[in-house]
């Protein structure tokens, strides 16, 4: 009896954890028009419908554009800052590191609110670009922290050797630093992509006509439960999971 208790708890925990995702995915294959029991399917009707929906597909493309665009900027800026702070002795570097990490301590709503005030006050419009700027603000600290943490002394020796052999700074970075740090750069990039892909509140505040997928889903929510939402939700989940598993295989397997 006591021996079975941990397994019963594990089972109950997994039921709790997978209940919403399970219901989401199962009823995305519903053939009726309500995503509640009894299940009558399976049918691909709703997947067909969302793939033919121009607004949703537009939002999906916008989301991918913002996610990959903002992550590229965040990782590039984060890498350069990490390189500068790890490889050069700079006065005030503690302050610079603190400032770069600071946005992590503030909730997304507040980051979005601040940008919204500045953008509307200064008369600059809202667009996918402004949402992208917001995503760089929240992902830059993570990218910087991940890459900075992996810049050890070992790589520094390789960099010194290259420099002694006559490489200039750009060659050192391109031929030595980036290849050695590629796993953590990739980790920072894909983490940033998943966070941006799922992000809602900043996109909601900072976009207007062209919106990202979470914002489009939000506006569909007003019409209540629908298997369409299940289908699009399952698709979003599938894409996130693919990126996460890719990250797991690419980065963490290598480390062993």
């Amino acid at each position: 009896m006591m021996r079975a208790l941990p397994w019963a708890y594990l089972l109950a925990a997994f039921v709790f954890i997978y209940l919403p995702v399970g219901a989401l995915v199962l009823f995305s294959f519903q053939s009726g028009s309500l995503p509640v029991p009894p299940f009558n399917g399976p049918s691909l009707r709703w997947y067909g419908e969302i793939l033919g929906d121009a607004d949703l597909m537009e939002a999906l493309r916008n989301s991918l554009f913002v996610a990959f665009g903002s992550s590229s900027v965040a990782v590039s800026l984060g890498f350069l800052a990490a390189y500068g702070l790890a490889r050069h002795v700079l006065p005030g570097s503690v302050f610079a590191r603190g400032l770069l990490i600071a946005p992590l301590t503030v909730s997304y709503l507040i980051v979005g609110l601040g940008l919204l005030i500045v953008l509307t006050r200064s008369g600059l419009g809202l667009s996918l670009w402004t949402a992208g700027i917001g995503h760089v603000v929240i992902n830059l600290p993570l990218a910087f922290a991940i890459i900075y943490a992996s810049m050890g002394a070992q790589q520094q020796n390789a960099e010194r050797a290259a420099r002694d052999l006559g490489a200039n700074e750009a060659q050192v970075i391109g031929l030595i630093t980036v290849p050695i740090l590629l796993p953590s750069i990739a980790a920072a990039f894909f983490l940033s992509v998943t966070l941006s892909w799922d992000e809602f509140i900043i996109s909601f505040l900072l976009t207007r006509f062209d919106v990202t997928l979470p914002v489009e889903i939000w506006s569909l929510l007003r019409s209540g439960l629908s298997p369409r939402l299940n289908a699009i939700g399952s698709l979003v989940f599938l894409i996130s999971i693919t990126v996460v598993l890719f990250l797991e295989i690419l980065v963490f397997r290598r480390r062993k």
């Binding site: 594990l10 390189y83 989940f237």
Partner: protein, 283 residues
């Protein structure tokens, strides 16, 4: 001279990230602070140095009610999540055979990656009057009429707990797995029973992991707009919901800014209260 040049190139690398953070984070933040001291006369904004918005927080019941509701929900979520996650992390760390451990951990946090909006919608699906839980309870003969689960505080708390159990399982697991088994063996050798070992040895050693996870839970939970908005059913509003109401219908940016500053104040207090045990660098 070379040192000077080294510094200039160094700052050259750091400058783009710093300028980005200053332009799009620090400046907006300062403007928001100034905005919280401005006032609205009708629909026009008047910059100034007034604490009117903050005074309003104390005077208007719907505003301080929101702060109370936010605190109640956040504290409930934090406590319940820790209590549910600890045994789960424990079982994965000490009961699951080693070769299945990584898989068990991965499985227990996989739905963490569903997007916020989709995850809350999925809970709405489960808790609706016609939803899975009600149908199951009726099927089992436990209830005869569907019970109202969605659009309540219970639904908001459930949605939050689901997310944070996964987060906390991860942070507590990371802490448990680092413990040397020698501590447990030593306590057992000295005559402690399982409960005493846990109470006097394991729990104090894992406290930093618990507090760090609980702090993250607190911060993310109190600042979230999506979960209470989708699952709470507008019967009571949290601070982020009130902020969004100010932004939308009334375009009252000063009051929204003041609320945001108050939210940050609460998070700062939570940080100070838990700073002794926090290990944020270990996340």
């Amino acid at each position: 001279m070379t040192r000077m040049r080294d510094r200039i190139t160094g700052w050259g690398f750091v400058a783009p990230a710093l300028l980005w953070t200053i332009a799009f984070f620090v400046v907006p933040f300062v403007v928001m602070g100034a905005m919280s001291l401005a006032t609205m006369k009708g629909r026009t904004l008047i910059w100034g140095f007034s604490f009117e918005n903050y005074a309003e927080l104390a005077e208007k019941a719907y505003l301080w009610r929101a702060i109370l509701v936010s605190l109640e929900i956040t504290l409930t979520v934090t406590v319940v999540s820790v209590l549910l996650a600890y045994p789960l992390a424990w079982i994965i760390a000490f009961r699951v055979p080693e070769r299945w451990r990584r898989l068990a951990l991965l499985l227990s946090i996989l739905p963490f990656w569903t997007s916020y909006v989709v995850r809350s919608y999925a809970w709405l699906l489960v808790l609706a009057r016609e939803g899975v839980v009600n149908k199951a309870l009726i099927g089992l003969g436990l209830i005869s009429e569907p019970v109202t689960l969605a659009n309540t505080r219970f639904a908001t708390v459930t949605g939050f707990v689901h997310f944070f159990v996964m987060l906390l399982t991860l942070t507590i697991y990371a802490n448990l797995i680092q413990l040397s088994p020698n501590y447990r063996r030593a306590a057992m050798d000295l005559g402690a029973n399982a409960l005493q070992t846990f109470r006097h040895v394991i729990l104090p050693l894992t406290l930093p992991g618990i507090v760090t996870g609980a702090f993250l839970t607190f911060v993310l939970c109190i600042g979230d707009y999506v979960t209470p908005q989708i699952l709470g059913g507008n019967t009571e509003l949290t601070v982020p919901q009130v902020i969004m109401v100010q932004l939308g219908r009334r375009a009252d940016f000063p009051l929204a800014s003041a609320l945001a500053i108050v939210l940050m104040g609460i998070v700062t207090l939570a940080y100070l209260a838990s700073a002794r045990w926090l290990r944020l660098d270990r996340i």
